[in-house]
Amino acid sequence: MINVTINGKEIQVPRGTMLLEACRQAGADIPTFCHDPHLQLAGSCRMCVVEAKGRWNLLASCVMPAENGMEIETESPSVVEARKIILELLLARHDLSCHTCERDGDCRLQDYCYRYGVKESRFAGEIIHFSKEDPNPFIERDYDKCIMCTKCVRVCKEITGAEAINVKDRGHHAAISTAFDGNLADSTCVFCGQCIMVCPVGALTSKVSMGKGKPYQVEKVLTTCTYCGTGCTLELNVKDDTVVGVSSNRDERYSPVNQGALCVKGRFGWDFIHAEDRLTTPLIRKNGELQPASWDEALDFAAAKLKQIKEASGPDALAMFASARITNEENYLAQKFMRAVIGTNNVDHCARL
């Protein structure tokens, strides 16, 4: 263990602990854009800089291991000055249409500008505009709001493994891009939307939820995705008793299976919930027409038919085709039912197709 003094408070941390962690442990609130505990460190946004006694420059706390005897100030005049100027530099290139932004109220740039009283930028020069054109149904890419934290690039590579996007060009002209600025649909993008999950501002948002509710207007209901047996946790965003979107819960305690990561279906495929033609009861065909029935009715009907076929034509006249949307345990029961109750090995599963 080593000793570090943070804002006058001495604490002990294991050797190798990053200053960011140490500062948070000491109760200091350190702002970050590019830091994400699930991704490789970048150290690039420089919002987390702190002042260490005896150092000529500020230290990026997310990538600087604490050293024994370090004396750290997290809100010294030069730290605050640096953070304010960085925010002003970002504002100078940022499309400040917060009133129509999907992330209004849940935006780190807003939060930090509020925290440091940054009302406007003194850098009033050229703004480079990027095209929003990307005709995919899921991900809105508005790089006029991008702050170049590169979390989207890292999550695409490190968690999803798609490597569909990267930083292109350099300096002020650098931007997030697919190869040759192509559309996401023509890239290796799988539309998992993990990039939306990690974006700290409104640069990447869901087209499916657009205009349906701001972050503070929706209630987040923790649930399990029904699309497959993996059991990913997700949050249904509910406004006026209507699901308007899906967001990630990255807390391991609530989302032990996926830690917030989802696939295209889980993140964007929730429109069935309120679909007009969604089945809400079992249907039994009577006189050539499907008619609503109760579950008891439907199950009795199915059981009777299975019995009847087995008796008339033998167990091998029956087969079960199970679904990946149910769990492994349920699939186990399904095959057990076919073998032990019906007496046939005619069992298959959609995941084999």
């Binding site: 798609a162 996007i165 990267n166």
Partner: protein, 148 residues
């Protein structure tokens, strides 16, 4: 046009050598054709987005078709004080193109560059990386004559 696959294959055993591949392609074509780029990404096991990020980072690499002769005018401070601006204007007039453009006959592309390390003979231009120093706006026609 020689086969880009052979060009890439000739450097394929160079560890992390995609930049070497890009150089080799540019030596042949003066730019990196998209098809060849995709092959290089494949050979060096990079996603296309990653390889594109690498290729666009370096100012000597280009994904756009360029002329047979790439003229670069150095505009760094030592060349600047030696009159690079006037030389650049003279080059633009002589070639009839602006910086970043290629002559209609596909012969010359005019680019700007930062210091090319020939500061004993400022102002300096390069023609396909060969430096030519002590450029005088009056001398442009003479200097470029061998490339016509």
């Amino acid at each position: 046009m020689s086969n880009y696959k052979d060009i890439i294959a000739s450097v394929k055993d160079t560890r992390g050598g995609i930049i070497e591949a890009f150089h080799a392609l540019q030596k042949e074509y003066n730019y990196i054709p998209a098809e060849a780029f995709r092959e290089a990404a494949r050979v060096f096991k990079l996603s296309e987005a990653e390889a594109y990020g690498v290729g666009t980072f370096y100012s000597y690499l280009s994904f756009e078709k360029r002329g047979k002769y790439i003229i670069r005018m150095c505009e760094s401070a030592p060349c600047h004080v030696a009159g690079a601006d006037e030389v650049l204007k003279a080059l633009e007039n002589h070639l009839g193109i602006a910086v970043g453009e290629t002559t209609p006959d596909g012969k010359f592309t005019l680019e700007l560059t930062e210091c090319i390390g020939q500061c004993q003979v400022t102002p300096v231009i390069t023609v396909n990386s060969d430096p030519i120093g002590n450029i005088d706006p009056q001398r442009i026609a003479e200097v470029l004559a061998p490339f016509k």
